[in-house]
Subunit: 233 residues, 2 copies
DNA sequence: TGACGAAGTTAGGCACGCCTAATAATATTA
DNA sequence: TAATATTATTAGGCGTGCCTAACTTCGTCA
């Protein structure tokens, strides 16, 4: 699988484990029915998942009996729940996302954030808690953006241009601002949609910017570079 | 699938599309061999993916011929690459992650971040760019943490306790700090590992904290609450 | 006690995404 | 041009994770 996870459980099994975790916490034990309802799957899928989790020693499972977690199951579930919590809090408190949306997104992300990222997110949140101006600053920027609705996200966000790239970075051109002879000149040189640009160097003043494209090297004025929207690598 | 994605392509196909995107940008067209090498899969897997992508009109594909992207394929690939870039830049510039690690993590996350999150991350980065003191502040906090290596991550991060919860939040107890008669008293009351706590209310002064557990309600002193480590929901 | 309904399991099927092995097409070289 | 090497495709298999349909087990209540 290309989407390698390094973790002991698949995204799906992590969700089963979490459902069990919260149900057991609330009621002492979980029944297949509870899990099926929470996750929106059929009972037979739950049976299958329980058999796999039991094989991996994460749950105590005997057919027809109530389900509880093993010690390892509890720890693993707590780790996933912790990631869910951290990511959701980050979305809500730093990115200003709506609670419900944040929770849904977090339930997707919890399966792919690494431990290092989770830890740093938690640290960032501590920092933000101590520096509320950061949170309000971001909210304000976001609010300004929201005035220009109707525009595509890429425009609201402000496109990245060749002028924003650091030395050594590669990018693909997605658009060249038309107007002036510039666009034509660039396209004639091979600087069209889909072409790969590599920034070779930027003068100390930031102008000109030396780029390599299709084997050729050329120097772009900063204003020219800023007219070329790219997706960075 | 529980891990619902709402996007038109699976994580796997998004990676194939991106491999094609960068190869085409660099060389004008892609061959199955290039893609197989980049993604670390066998050639036959590439053929399968190409057939699927061709069905979905994302690539121009004729057996044995070089591969290029359709207009939709280019747009879709650019969107994924954009998410990869944003997430990686966030990891590097805000979270201070190592470039190589950040890139790997980003290649996993690019398939699960929603558009709203990506947009807000980009905005946050703009804010941080405009306020470099924020960035160094986070780095500093992270550096302090790194001094206390050897400790488990949960300790470095500082555990969340009942005292950190807001009114209405639920959590599962993972540990009760031992010492004093407190631990025993709490455990006797049912406040042990695995139990669900719900914060009912916090006095204006922050003390006491009213919690509900196993149907019972009780009031905890702030110092008591701070001795109970939890995983929040 | 026995019948009934709810809950849980098993069997079989399907889509996805990878693999290996065999085969086919294309490129390279003698 | 013919032999050979490289590249690509097909066929068939496997694991995961979901489904439906049929069946079994369990608890309840007459
Ligand atoms: Mn989840
Ligand atoms: Mn979750
Ligand atoms: Mn990826
Ligand atoms: Mn990627």
């Amino acid at each position: 699988m290309i989407f390698e996870s390094t973790r002991s459980l698949s995204a799906s099994l992590e969700d089963y484990l979490q459902a069990i975790f919260w149900t057991v916490a609330a009621k002492g034990a979980a029944r297949a029915k509870d899990i099926a309802r929470q996750l929106g799957v059929k009972a037979s899928s739950v049976t299958g998942a329980l058999q796999t989790l039991a094989e991996k020693k994460f749950v105590h499972y005997q057919p027809y009996e109530a389900i509880t977690l093993t010690a390892e199951g509890f720890d693993e579930a707590a780790r996933v729940a912790q990631r869910h919590f951290i990511v959701r809090e980050f979305f809500v408190r730093v990115l200003g996302l709506d609670e419900a949306v944040a929770d849904k997104e977090a339930c997707r992300m919890e399966h792919c954030v690494g431990d290092d990222v989770a830890e740093r997110l938690a640290t960032l949140m501590e920092f933000v808690k101590a520096h509320p101006e950061m949170q309000s600053g971001v909210s304000q920027l976001l609010a300004e953006r929201d005035h220009s609705d109707g525009m595509p996200a890429s425009v609201r966000r402000g496109p990245v241009t060749v002028a924003d790239l650091r030395s050594g970075q590669k990018a693909v051109i997605v658009a060249v601002r038309s107007g002036a002879a510039l666009a034509r000149r660039l396209v004639d040189m091979g600087l069209g949609r889909g072409a790969l640009v590599e920034v070779e160097g930027v003068a100390p003043t930031g102008d000109p910017i030396r780029v390599k494209i299709r084997g050729y090297q050329l120097a772009l004025r900063r204003t020219e570079a800023a007219a070329i929207s790219v997706v960075g690598k």
